[in-house]
């Protein structure tokens, strides 16, 4: 389609010469020759040519628009696909604002290139080359004199091209920085207000805004340094035609008629030259953006299905960690972790802040790959599972709840689109969320904001829990899911989790003893090492972290019992 468009562009450029020729016919035959009978045919012919030319030009533009939109659509989709499958480390390297710039501004330049610049370049080249050949046939000496400036012009534009490249890269960086600053400000607007940092944020953004402006002006300044030379050299062609041509006539080497052809068509050589500078700007900008797009296009996630990955019949939910270690940025997070969970059993993980509890889940779901050791699901290394099947088997209620701007219903059914209305309500009820959802203005159809803004922490946790249960996974993971809930609600939920309508292995991460005490096995994770393991009773007997935490959480209830007893006496 693009080729067709550009081919038409060539024809259209050539057709531009027909009507001026017809005009000269008109003048010679009708006006000067007084042959009125030619008037209507010539005018009709001109009209037809014009209609044809416009039709072709219009279709050329539409072809180019269509093909560029098509290209952008395909690029967008394949880039999005790449983004969707990238692992955590990719997103810690690339800020949201920068990725947004690539997916919007950078792609826009690529589109602009295909739709507009490509046709400009073709036009310029066709025009230049065809005129050049035509000129050479008439008089090669004058033509050579004429194009003598071309090498100089090319040299200058080449120099400009090299010089301007870093400026475009800088401008692109500035745009991305500004995008990031604005994006973060919008996302963190609550914190900004809480600390009354509006003025500070404005200053911060002002600097980005100013830097972006200055980068743009920098490009312009450089361009204006070169522009006079490019423009002057392009105009020199006209100068040479007339004055050198004039000399040639005086010397008798060409005729006046020949020179007339030269003068009337010099613009066809000069215009592409004049445009060269502008095109260089567009091309450089395109290259800068294209590089950024290509970077994502070719970035392949490290965690993908292995070629020997197999599809399992069903997932039983047997989990085993064998001497698993993991480091992030060379800081060890997990060291030599081993444990086993039988299908249907419950494993609880407790431990201080930042001890690596969540990372165990991330490794199991292969959001990261372990550095050493093996993680087995149903006796088979997780690396040998198809990612799709592996992750579908794990339903996680994440610690930090990310909800999508969608209805409550849509959010609960996020991982299981096939859910009926009734089932959505059922899982909400199990997560003790039904009551408050019913009270919302439009119940289950209420749209909740991105990240669940407008909901309290406890409400968000319950929707996330319903979302995880709705998948009916073989492994249900509750990562600190009830921390923002009162004890009564938590108890209710625990009861529901013990009586789920499907069989699953459970992993519960929590800070509260009350959340973990009923687990088949509890492991205590401290600084990435399992320091204690056993049942609630076994762990209480040891004088370790578990026992201490238990006592800390319990002392209130001990002296509460005193109050309680006082009250009843």
């Amino acid at each position: 389609m693009l080729i067709a468009g550009l081919a038409i562009s060539v024809v259209v450029s050539c057709m531009l010469l027909i009507n001026p020729y017809m005009t000269s016919l008109l003048i010679d035959n009708v006006i000067v020759g007084k042959n009125t009978e030619f008037l209507v045919p010539i005018l009709a012919a001109m009209m037809i040519v014009q209609v044809l030319r416009m039709g072709m030009r219009f279709s050329m533009h539409m072809l180019l628009e269509t093909s560029s939109q098509h290209m952008m659509y395909n690029l967008r989709c394949s880039l999005f696909k790449t983004l969707q499958n990238q692992e955590g480390s990719f997103f810690s390297r690339n800020r949201t604002g920068d990725l947004m710039t690539r997916m919007t501004g950078d792609l826009e330049f690529c589109r602009h290139f295909v739709c507009f610049i490509s046709h400009q370049i073709t036009d310029a080249v066709v025009m230049f080359v065809s005129t050049l050949i035509f000129f050479l046939l008439i008089d090669w000496q004058l033509t050579l004199a004429l194009v003598a400036v071309t090498p100089l012009l090319l040299f200058i534009t080449q120099k400009y091209s090299n010089k301007v490249r870093p400026h475009f890269i800088l401008m692109r960086e500035r745009l991305s920085e500004m995008n990031t600053a604005a994006q973060e400000n919008i996302a963190g607007n609550r914190v900004v207000k809480a600390f009354a940092r509006e003025a500070y944020e404005r200053e911060k953004f002002k600097e980005c805004n100013r830097n972006f402006r200055d980068a743009n002006l920098g490009i312009n300044r450089l361009w204006l340094k070169f522009y006079p030379f490019i423009e002057a050299l392009a105009n020199f062609m006209t100068l040479i035609t007339v004055f050198v041509g004039g000399l040639f006539i005086i010397r008798g080497s060409i005729t006046a008629g020949e020179l007339a052809i030269f003068t009337s068509l010099t613009w066809a050589l000069a215009a592409p030259m004049r445009n060269l500078g502008v095109l260089i700007n567009d091309i450089q900008r395109f290259f800068t953006s294209a590089n950024k797009v290509i970077e994502i296009y070719y970035s392949r996630p490290l965690i993908v299905d292995r070629s020997d990955a197999v599809l399992h019949d069903r997932v039983k939910g047997h989990i085993e960690f064998r001497n698993v270690s993991f480091s992030f940025n060379k800081v060890p997070i997990l060291k030599d972790i081993s444990f086993k969970v039988e299908p249907g059993q419950t494993l609880a993980i407790i431990g201080p802040t930042g001890s690596g509890k969540t990372m165990i889940i991330n490794l199991l779901a292969r959001l990261y790959d372990a550095d050493r050791g093996e993680i087995l699901l149903d006796g088979c290394n997780v690396k040998l599972w198809k990612l799709q099947q592996l992750r579908s088997a794990i339903g996680t209620a994440t610690q930090e709840v990310f909800l999508f701007s969608d209805s409550v219903k849509g959010n609960i059914a996020f991982g299981n689109q096939a859910l009926t209305e009734q089932e959505v309500h059922d899982f909400a009820r199990r997560a003790a969320a039904d009551e408050f959802i019913q009270k919302m203005p439009e119940g289950y159809e209420t749209i909740i904001g991105e990240r669940g803004v407008g909901l309290s922490g406890g409400q968000r946790q319950r929707i996330a829990l319903a979302r995880a249960m709705a998948v009916q996974p073989a492994i249900l993971v509750l990562d600190d899911t009830t921390s923002a809930l009162d004890m009564e609600t938590e108890k209710l939920i625990q009861h529901q989790i013990d009586n789920l309508p499907f069989k699953c292995t459970k992993i519960i991460i929590a800070q509260r003893i009350s959340s973990v005490k009923n687990a088949d096995e509890i492991i205590v994770l401290e600084q990435g090492i399992i320091t204690e393991r056993g049942t609630h009773e076994q762990l209480l007997k040891r004088n370790g972290y578990y026992r201490q935490t238990y006592e800390l959480q319990n002392d209130i209830s001990v002296d509460e019992k005193a109050v309680f007893n006082c009250g009843t006496q």
Partner: protein
Amino acid sequence: MARNKFDIDEKLESPFSMAHLKRSFTYIRRHRLKMFFALMLSGMASVAGLFGPKIMQWTLDDAVPNKDISMLALLALLYICILAISILFTTVRSHIMARVSQDIIYDIREDLFAHLQKLPFSYYDSRPAGKILVRVINYVNSVADMLSNGIINSILEVINIIFIVVFMFSTNATLSLVIVAGLPIFVLFIVVIKPKQRRAWQQQSNKNSNYNAYLAESIDGVHVSQLFVRQQINIGIFARLAAACRAAWMKAIIISNSVWVSVELLTQIVFTVMYIAGVYWMGGAIVSFGVILAMGQYVSRFWQPILNLANIYNMFINNIAYLERIFETMDEPVTVDNMPGAIELPPVSGQVEFRGVSFGYEPGVPVLENISFTVEAGESIALVGPTGAGKTTVVNLLSRFYNLTGGEILLDGKYDISRVTLHSLRSQMGIMMQDSFIFSGTVMDNIRYGRLDATEEEIIAAAKAVHAHDFIIEMEKGYHTELNERGSRLSAGQKQLISFARTMLANPRILILDEATSSIDTKTERLLQQGIRVLLEGRTSFIIAHRLSTIKNCNRIFYIGDKGILESGSHTQLMNKKGLYYRLYTAQASEMEAVVH
């Protein structure tokens, strides 16, 4: 509550009107002298340019036939001079206009961003972040050229047309009328397609905005999408949105392209009619053949600027779809703002009084009704009650994140919080919210956000007080470790500790902790409580927590429910009262007892 999501087109509240256009001029006005100068330069450059062909003519008509080489050289020199002047003027104009257009973008973006800072939570809560972002970044970039070069060029083209019309009519009025007659037809065409074209470009900007919203959200929530294996479905949704963008663009561009096609065709029609008329009149010798020749050239001379204007017009129609969105955002009402005559709140001791306070997020749906209480300076107050009862609302009202629907809130018994400046009010409060937001930057920068002039020692001291120091120094660069936005490498508890340090550093008179320690392990929590006890000395504090153990030591406990305070008093008092708090507490206690046995 959100009213918009990624696949809902935003309705346009205010259609584009002359007022918008006038408003754009406020951004242009401050550059009017520069723009006038640029206009003059352009005019002079064109006039200088006109001499070029004249010199050519002299060369070919006089110098060459006379074989006068010295005249040839002289004319060549003259040509170079004119060229130099013309290039100089054009360069200076480009320089000025680049500055002007960049300054216009800068100003619009600055105003838009400044206004966004004033907008209430509800604004951000009710639409996807990507839809706000696209306005600040992409839309503003688009309109600059229209407001600078677009305006200059259209003025130049109009002047151009006037000149040509004068020349044309002085040559032959009747034939000129034929040429000009095409214009009403063109205007009619524009008027007819305008509503369609406007709608098409508005649609395009809507689809673009939806695309942005979904993209931003997908990048931020990619972790969840992967966990729930939603990639395929998401790719499908995304493809649909991208296809909608493509369709909207094609629809708009086809209309815009028809504009120049119609101009070109009209030019040809006018040319034809003019020739036929001219030639037939010529038989009656009304016009000479020189006149027809000249008029033939005027046709394109007259219609070329119209074509250019049509292209500028296309740009206007396209960009107005963006401009109206920008202005719409700027017009978004600032519901919470400094009152006229608001005073700077002097340092307060921290006494807080609610007098008959009522509030609801939606009109007619009260969350709190007529609540009154007084908290003495230095007192610590716990807010308990069922989820969604309005605990967070109480503290949000105190920070004036929302305006009351009734009653007033006083500080130190004399300062109505709605009559002091927001900045002076909130800088005396330390608010730690349920979500701990981490900015991209170092750990140090993140804590410093609480008090911008804090020294490194003070920052480290704050981190030590909340027991964040240990894990911070374990990271590869300690306090200078770069965190990415939202701090994805930190655990939820660690993020809470950093936010806590940030709040403590702010050295507030009134401290608000809303579920501040929910993700922190019990041991750290206890250490932290001891650490901040010193810091809390003399400060008024409001604490919301579900783990009642953390609030037992507060001076007073308010049980929030049924749109008001149902019970208040110390832990012992409330326990003896055997009311709602007692029930809540014993539920937890019996839960604990179950753990014991």
